[in-house]
Symmetry: C2
Subunit: 253 residues, 2 copies
DNA sequence: TACTCTTGTGTCAAAAATACACTATCGGCG
DNA sequence: CGCCGATAGTGTATTTTTGACACAAGAGTA
């Protein structure tokens, strides 16, 4: 948590550096042990969680803003990012960072401004990410999508909208590619689809269909180590994947 | 075109009333005589066309801004509006309203600011709209999508993105409902789909599929007057339509 | 009344989706 | 070391959906 002086300094810098009234919030999805995860952070001395977010530099394309913001939290560059909605209710940011609300008069206080926020969702390989807090965050960590804590502001709405978008785009965005590790087994990939769609799929039909797209390469050696029959390892054939995405995968789930 | 004094006055009011750096641009689609149309406007003493747009009042939800902006141009209330993308390149608005560029120094000149623009597309019944210009526009009129004039700024990109979105959403948004008149014939509806998708569809299969959705009601009396067999008139069964949209129409075209 | 154009409709074949059951192999355990 | 339990791999029969296609009916016009 910032002191009054630090807050003053921050607000001054923010006014000089950022576009006013515009923020970016990111819903970072990861997939681990059969569960969809989202990156969330807490703020010291405040209950509730936030989506990672930030602001747009005065001369910065918004895609880069989103990238920059995520790089600070995940240390990752080249993240798959997708803009999905702008949230523009004047009430939405009224309670932003409560603890700073009364520390400065409204005209000086960046955090009492109205903000439109541009929602981006990101898909990352869970294992690549080492969540790190920033100057405002107390903690930054993965949360299970089935077991979400209470979110501040309208961040629950933003998250829900992101998830809806993800479901809708499952057929024409490289969602599997970005969420899985380089090599994975067919049951793992199926589990991802089942988790996103929140329904069971038939094992054989899933396999037939996935292979039918021609976007997977089967590795020579299976994954050993489990207490059961060793599954084959697959990886995405990026070239075919890109081509298939242009067409859009036929049909839906 | 505004005089320097009027411009000064406008900029002053704008700064007082609107959120800075944020604009809204609308792609208004209509359908008439088998052709997709878009509402465009010209500015006096300037070549090129613009999408209708405007700004967000300081305490106004952005959905209402878009509605308000369109109401000024179309006189319509309750328009079907869909947010589809934010365009945030810092260069995109550099050449906004060229003729006002040098009339005021940049710090006073609203139009030399950077603007992120929120893209909305609207679907309207062509016949309901009486396009009317505003204080900046010289003319406001429907343009054929196949025969577009040159667009200013990044408005060609915005238009293209809107159209791509429209195509993608054809299966889970009430696009037919909003673009057609209350009553219409099956060939007319088919023509709409063909126009949006830019491809021919089979007459019989189209009919079978559309009727299969159970969202159409066939009227008792056919449309007379043409020089040929009188086609049946249909209208949307709104209740079923809403229900079907929730599911998403199965498959694609 | 014959002609032309457009609409309405049914059927068949191909493709896709669905439902379903058996075999193979790994590690663990007795 | 062989049996057990659990998971993975695979094919087929059935149903549903799509796609291609042709002919009859009705409205105005000549």
């Amino acid at each position: 948590m910032l002191t009054k002086e630090e807050l003053e300094e921050y607000c001054k810098t923010a006014r000089e550096s950022y576009l006013p009234h515009i923020s970016i919030d990111c819903v970072v999805f990861g997939f681990h042990e059969g569960l969809l995860k989202v990156l969330l952070l807490t703020v010291k001395n405040e209950g509730g969680w936030y989506l990672p977010g930030g602001f747009v530099l005065k001369d910065e394309p918004i895609e880069l803003s989103a990238n920059r913001i995520l790089k600070e939290r995940t240390r990752l560059d080249e993240i798959f990012l997708q803009q999905f909605h702008v949230f523009g209710d004047p009430q939405r940011s009224k309670q932003h960072f409560d603890m700073y609300k009364d520390m400065l008069p409204p005209k000086d206080n960046w955090f009492t401004n109205r903000f439109l926020t541009i929602g981006y969702y990101a898909l990352v390989d869970f294992c690549d990410v080492n969540p790190s807090p920033d100057q405002f965050a107390a903690t930054c960590s993965w949360c299970d999508l089935n077991d979400l804590p209470e979110l501040k502001l309208d961040h629950a709405l933003i998250l829900k909208t992101a998830l809806d978008t993800l479901r809708l785009q499952l057929n024409y965005q490289p969602i599997g590619y970005n969420l899985m590790q380089k090599e994975f087994t067919m049951p793992e990939l199926q589990k991802l689809y089942e988790t996103i769609l929140d329904k069971k799929l038939d094992r054989r039909n899933f396999q037939r269909r996935m292979l039918g797209f021609g976007i997977l390469k089967r590795s020579e050696k299976p994954r050993k180590g489990g207490a059961h029959k060793a599954p084959f390892l697959y990886s995405f054939d990026l070239e075919n994947y890109e081509a298939a995405l242009k067409e859009g995968f036929k049909g839906g789930w």
